[in-house]
């Protein structure tokens, strides 16, 4: 019974935790521009993150080592350092976007400018990391993030022509004034948003924080195989709302307000209140995850003590890194750079850094010295390799497409 509860809780947390500012913005943006014609990318991304998150969860449960330990070990000091810099910068960029997202959600709720909320948001993130237990932090924000289910209700309430949505979903390709280049560019962005590297850093380090062992594999797998796909459905609902409301009206999503507006249009003030709370929880939760991930990657590369399973003074460098990252994100946002734009770039850069993160996971998940009887099977390896190819393709194509489309214009 207790086990069942833990599994359910894990799944719910995974659903709520799956969606972050990158998913919110990118899905709404893509829904408004292409309708459901890019739904297949979300499906592709969710399958990919499931494959690799399961591998990293299994590695943690069997060997007790989180992902970045392995990246350094298998890639060596030099290539590992390169991977560290790339992953760290992408995670930091994502953190900046998440803190901006929290501030924007607060601005929408209160009408007070987000620049005033932002230092407060960053401070609150730090305070929670400093004081609150890992499992509690995960549960509270994961469960609150579940409120984003309101997008699914809103989509249903908007009473769309389901046939035409299905029609769009089964006919991939650009429409109207869009070109194949912008279609491909946003495809990569959406893929990057679904497979963001910090998700596996956080997932695997979280496994160590919660002291996973072999018997916890069930929890890890159910989180991944049930929680993530349901989180992916939330993403599709967000895109669906934008497709129904914005695509015919010619509205392009450029602000967080436009992301949440469909919930208000469909469900009124109650819907608006729920979606605001959901967005706040999702971005705040993701801000916690990304700032922890900044600390995890650096500490795990250098072998420093890390984690919330020890008191802050025992993992002092880890906490210093987190504090510095939060200060950096305040400074960057202070320049009044648009957090939504930061988000759009962060998901594309995430797509570029993907192969470096996922290759070492695949290598270790096949290593009998680590995995004993739990190493990858042939079918899994086949799909993992297909994805590795896709990741490489996305990573190589990202910059040329960014130049060619002038970042998706």
């Amino acid at each position: 019974m207790k086990r069942l509860f833990a599994v359910t809780l894990g799944i719910l947390t995974a659903i709520g935790g799956f969606v972050d500012i990158g998913d919110l913005v990118t899905n709404a943006l893509v829904g408004a521009r292409f309708g459901m014609r890019m739904a297949w990318v979300v499906v592709l991304g969710v399958i990919g993150i499931c494959l690799y998150a399961e591998m990293s969860g299994r590695v943690v449960a069997v060997s007790g080592r989180p992902v970045f330990d392995l990246i350094r070990e298998r890639l060596g000091r030099r290539t590992g350092l390169f991977a560290l810099i790339a992953s760290f910068l992408v995670t930091l960029l994502t953190l900046i976007a998440e803190v901006g997202g929290v501030a924007l959600a607060l601005e929408l709720a209160s009408g007070v400018n987000y620049l005033l909320w932002m230092p407060l948001a960053a401070f609150a993130v730090w305070l929670v990391i400093w004081r609150v237990k890992f499992s509690r932090l995960e549960q509270v924000f994961g469960l609150l993030g579940l409120l984003l289910v309101v997008f699914a209700v809103a989509l249903w309430k908007l009473g769309p022509d389901w046939d035409s949505l299905m029609q769009q979903a089964t006919n991939p390709g650009p429409t109207g004034h869009e070109t194949w280049a912008t279609y491909a560019y946003y495809g990569i962005a959406l893929f990057g948003a679904a497979m963001t590297p910090y998700e596996v850093f956080f997932f695997s380090s979280g496994g160590v924080e919660e002291k996973w062992e072999r018997q916890d594999l069930i929890t890890a797998r159910s989180n991944v195989f049930v929680g993530f796909p349901l989180g992916g459905l939330l993403s599709l609902a967000i895109a669906g709302c934008a497709a129904v409301l914005y695509l015919p009206a010619g509205i392009q999503v450029e602000t967080l307000g436009q992301v949440i507006l469909p919930a208000a249009v469909a469900l009124g003030k109650l819907g608006l209140a729920i979606v605001l709370l959901g967005v706040f929880a999702a971005t705040f939760g993701a801000a916690l995850e990304t700032s922890l991930s900044c600390g995890y990657t650096i500490a795990q590369y250098f072998g420093w003590q890390w984690g919330k399973f020890v008191r802050p003074r025992q993992a002092s460098r880890f906490h210093v890194v987190i504090i510095i990252c939060l200060i950096l994100s305040i400074l960057v946002l202070m320049t009044a750079v648009d957090p939504v734009k930061v988000t759009e770039y962060s998901v594309v850069f995430a797509a570029m850094a993907l192969p470096l993160t996922y290759l070492p996971i695949l290598i270790i998940a096949n290593d009998p010295d680590y995995m004993d009887d739990q190493k990858n099977g042939r079918v899994l390896n086949f799909f993992a390799l297909v994805y590795l190819g896709l990741l490489l393709l996305a990573s190589i194509a990202a910059i040329p497409l960014m130049i060619l489309t002038r970042a998706g214009r």
Partner: protein, 113 residues
Amino acid sequence: MRLNDLLGHRVVDRTGRDIGGVADVRLVQDGPLQPSMQAAFRVDGLIVVEKRATRLFGYERHVGPALLHWLVHRRLGGVWYLPWEDVERITEGAVEARSGLEDLRPLEETPRH
């Protein structure tokens, strides 16, 4: 000697022919007993790869998806095992072998445990 210095040393056989670079050192825990009552790790031999590549990702062994395995091995060329008895001496930047290339065994044939 430090491992990082040894890795990447060129290996030349008895005729002076360059046969590859040092990629790893094989240790066997059957050396003299240490104060901690454990056997020391004895240097058993060197793993030599034909082409210059010091990172093997552990792929010099039979692990991993066949495709990755094949890719890595294509980059490495032949992977040989040079037992310590066959090492004549180690100089600045090079290891001189007592045997010839034709005497070397592929790494796959050495027992794993």
